[in-house]
C-alpha cells in the first residue's frame, strides 16, 4: 500500500510541467516547458524549432557536463529554472567521461566512512544532499546545487574532464581542469565551482547574485551514526575535518548547543589559519572550523556576537584596546605608547591600564570621577544619561562581592561557583580570586576552595 503511494507520488512528480532555460552563445535565452522524464533530444528538438538552429550543429552543457541525447532531466538532476548552455559543434559525447553532477552532489552530502566496511542503507540514503547557507533569499541553511564555470572567463559553457572526488576537489581553487567553450577564452582551463540554493528558484525576488556558501561540514546521516552527545540518530550531522579527513561528528542540534556554549563562555580561539574558531569536541589539534558560515546556523543574534568577539579578540591580540564607555566599545590601535587613550568615536579619554577615566600616576590611586556640577561646563544629555547608567552599574559592581576586576586587564569578572583559581575569559590570565595575584602554589595551598585546605 505504502509502496503504491510512493510509486504514485513519483509518477505525479514526473508528470509536473516546469520550465528550463536554454542559453545560446550569443546570450539569448529560450524557455522550454519540460517534465522530469523529458530527454535531452526532446529539449534540443524544441530549441531548434524555436530558433531555427540546425539540430546537429550544437550540444547542450549542464553543470560541467556535456549531455548525451538519451539522458533524462531527472537523471541529470536538472530542476525547475535550471539553465542549460548551448555550445556550437562540441566533441562527440562518447569522448567525454560520464560526470553526473547529481552523483557528485550525492557524494558531497555523504559522510566518508573508511572505517565502516558495509555502511547500512537507510531510507534517507536516496535523499542525501549537501547544504549551503543561502545569504540572499532564504537566509537559512538549504539543500545546495553544485555548478561549475571557467575560472578565467566565468562562462558557464564549460565541461569538466575529471570528476571531483570530494570536497577538497570542489573547494580548493585551481585543482581540476576542463574545457571552456567561450569563443574569446576557449580551450583547456581551470574549473571553478560555485553553489546555488535549491530552496528558491534562480533569479527570484529580483536577486541576481544569489550564489551561496557551501556548508561542507553538514552531511546527511546515511550511515546511521549516533550523535555522541545526545545518543540519538539524527538525519543531519556536522562532520569535523580531523587529521585532514572526515573525523568526529555530532548532530546539528548538539552542534548548535556546543558552539553556543563555547561562544558565550568565550572559549573560541583566534588563530592565523582559521580565524576565530573552535575545534571538534575531542579537541583534535587540526580540527578548527575554517568556513565561518557554519556559525550562521547559530542564528542572527549569536552570529553577530561571534563576529564582534572575533574582531575584539583579533584586535586585543594585535595590542589594541576597546573603549570602556558604556554603549561604545569601539576598538582602536593607539599609536601613542602612553596610557592616555581617547576614543575617536565617543571622545571618551581613559587610562589604557585600568580603563578608568584618564588619570595621572598610579592606577590604584586614581581619583573618583569628579562631578561637573558648578564648574559651568555644558553637559550633553546623552552623555549625562550614559554616565548615570554607568554610575549605577559601577555602584552595583562595587557593592557586589561576586564581581571583581581581572588583575591584569581589569575587565569585570563575575564568579558564580567553583574554586578560587580563576581564568580571565578575556585575557586568559590565571589568578587567585582572594589575593588577586597570579595563581600559584601559595594560593593553592592556603585557600584553593576558599577556606584553609
Amino acid at each position: 500500500m505504502v509502496r503504491g503511494v510512493a510509486i504514485f507520488k513519483m509518477a505525479a512528480r514526473q508528470a509536473v510541467l516546469f520550465d528550463v532555460s536554454v542559453r545560446d552563445s550569443a546570450g539569448r535565452t529560450q524557455i522550454i516547458p519540460v517534465r522530469a522524464s523529458t530527454s535531452v533530444s526532446d529539449i534540443k528538438r524544441s530549441f531548434s524549432e524555436k530558433t531555427g538552429v540546425p539540430l546537429n550543429s550544437y550540444q547542450l552543457v549542464f553543470a560541467g557536463r556535456q549531455l548525451s541525447d538519451a539522458d533524462t532531466l531527472q537523471a541529470l538532476g536538472v530542476q525547475s529554472h535550471s539553465t542549460l548552455f548551448c555550445i556550437r559543434g562540441g566533441v562527440k559525447v562518447e569522448a567525454v567521461p560520464d560526470i553526473s553532477v547529481k552523483a557528485v552532489e550525492d557524494k558531497l552530502g555523504k559522510i566518508a566512512t573508511d572505517d565502516i566496511e558495509d555502511p547500512p542503507s537507510s531510507p534517507s540514503a536516496a535523499n542525501n544532499r549537501f547544504y549551503v547557507y543561502c545569504k540572499s533569499v532564504c537566509k537559512e541553511m538549504k539543500p545546495g546545487k553544485l555548478r561549475v564555470r571557467c575560472a578565467s572567463c566565468k562562462d558557464d559553457r564549460f565541461t569538466l574532464t575529471t570528476e571531483p572526488q570530494g570536497w577538497s576537489d570542489v573547494l580548493e581553487k585551481q585543482k581540476l581542469r576542463g574545457r571552456c567553450y567561450n569563443d574569446k577564452c576557449g580551450g583547456d582551463k581551470f574549473a571553478e565551482f560555485y553553489f546555488k540554493c535549491a530552496g528558491h528558484t534562480s533569479g527570484a525576488a529580483g536577486v541576481r547574485d544569489d550564489e551561496c556558501v557551501a556548508l561542507h561540514m553538514i552531511r546527511t546521516n546515511t550511515v546511521d551514526i549516533e550523535c555522541p552527545l545526545c545518543a540519538d540518530e539524527k538525519d543531519i550531522m556536522v562532520v569535523f575535518t580531523c587529521d585532514g579527513k572526515d573525523g568526529h561528528c555530532l548532530c546539528l542540534d548538539c552542534f548548535k548547543d556546543f558552539a553556543r556554549l563555547a561562544l558565550t563562555e568565550r572559549r573560541f580561539i583566534e588563530n592565523a589559519q582559521s580565524g576565530y574558531s573552535i575545534q571538534c569536541p575531542n579537541r583534535c589539534p587540526d580540527s578548527f572550523i575554517t568556513e565561518i558560515h557554519h556559525f550562521r546556523l547559530l542564528g542572527d543574534e549569536l552570529y553577530e556576537r561571534y563576529q564582534r568577539f572575533g574582531t575584539e579578540e583579533c584586535l586585543l591580540q594585535m595590542g589594541g584596546v576597546l573603549c570602556p564607555q558604556v554603549g561604545c566599545g569601539m576598538g582602536m590601535l593607539p599609536e601613542d605608547p602612553g596610557n592616555r587613550v581617547t576614543c575617536p568615536t565617543c571622545r571618551h579619554t581613559f587610562c589604557r591600564n585600568c580603563k578608568n577615566p584618564y588619570h595621572r600616576g598610579n592606577c590604584d590611586a586614581a581619583p573618583p570621577i569628579q562631578a561637573l556640577a558648578g564648574t559651568g561646563q555644558q553637559i550633553d544629555g546623552e552623555r549625562l544619561r550614559r554616565s548615570r547608567w554607568d554610575e549605577a552599574s559601577d555602584a552595583f559592581i562595587r557593592s557586589n562581592a561576586s564581581i571583581k576586576p581581572c588583575p591584569r586587564c581589569h575587565v569585570n569578572i563575575e564568579k558564580n561557583g567553583g574554586c578560587m583559581h580563576m581564568t580571565c575569559s578575556k585575557c586568559r590570565f590565571n589568578f587567585c580570586w582572594i589575593c588577586l595575584i597570579e595563581w600559584g602554589r601559595r594560593c593553592q595551598d592556603n585557600h584553593w576552595f576558599g577556606e584553609r585546605n
Binding site: 555522541p228 552527545l229 545526545c230 545518543a231 540519538d232 568526529h248 548538539c254 548547543d257 556546543f258 556554549l261 571538534c280 569536541p281 575531542n282 579537541r283 567553583g418 581564568t423 602554589r441 593553592q444 595551598d445 584553593w448 576552595f449 585546605n453
Partner: protein
C-alpha cells in the same frame, strides 16, 4: 527515570551491562543523575588492594557541563584534598561533551596510578611524594587517612632511629 535524556540512559545501561574493570557505578534509586561509584585501587600503585567510594552527579547541563565527582573515602593523594575534591583538568576547563561517565572514572583511576605532584591539591602530600616516593607509597598503602600519615611518619622515624642506633 522520566525525562532523563537518552544519552544518560544509554550511558547508565552500558555501565551496568558492560562495566569497566575495577570500576562500579550504580545510579541512585531516588535520583538517576546521582551515581554511587566504587573504584578499585589500580594494580602496581600505592592504592592497590584498596577500594574507594566516590559520588558522581550529572548536572542539568550534562553533557555540555562536566559531571561533579568527589571521593567519599578519605584518600592520601596529592591531587585530592581532605574533602575528597579532585584536581583533574577534564572536570573543569578541559571538559568536553564527548567525554562520558566511563572516561571520567577511568581518568580518575589513572590519576590514582600516576599522581601529578606538580598540580597538587594537598601540598604536604605532594612534597612527601616528590622528596621520598617510597615513604609516600608506604604511607598510601598503610592508610588512607591523614591521621595515619602522621602515625606512619612517626613509625618511620622510630625505625630510622633504631637503624641509626644499630650502626653506632
Amino acid at each position: 527515570m522520566a525525562g532523563l535524556p537518552k544519552r544518560i540512559l544509554k550511558e547508565t545501561q552500558r555501565l551496568l551491562t558492560d562495566p569497566v574493570q575495577g570500576i562500579n557505578a550504580t545510579p541512585d534509586e531516588q535520583n538517576a543523575r546521582y551515581f554511587h561509584v566504587v573504584v578499585a585501587g589500580p594494580k602496581d600503585s600505592p592504592f592497590e588492594g584498596g577500594t574507594f567510594k566516590l559520588e558522581l552527579f550529572l548536572p542539568e547541563e550534562y553533557p555540555m557541563a562536566p559531571p561533579k565527582v568527589r571521593f567519599m573515602t578519605k584518600i592520601y593523594h596529592p591531587n585530592i584534598d581532605k574533602l575528597g575534591r579532585i584536581c583533574l583538568d577534564i572536570l573543569k576547563d578541559k571538559w568536553s561533551p564527548a567525554l562520558q561517565i566511563r572516561t571520567v572514572l577511568l581518568s580518575i583511576q589513572a590519576l590514582l596510578s600516576a599522581p601529578n605532584p606538580d598540580d597538587p591539591l594537598a601540598n604536604d602530600v605532594a612534597d612527601a611524594w616528590k622528596t621520598n616516593e617510597h615513604l609516600a607509597i608506604q604511607t598510601g598503602e598503610e592508610s588512607f587517612l591523614y591521621m595515619y600519615f602522621i602515625f606512619t611518619s612517626l613509625l618511620y622515624f622510630t625505625r630510622f632511629c633504631l637503624l641509626f642506633n644499630n650502626f653506632s
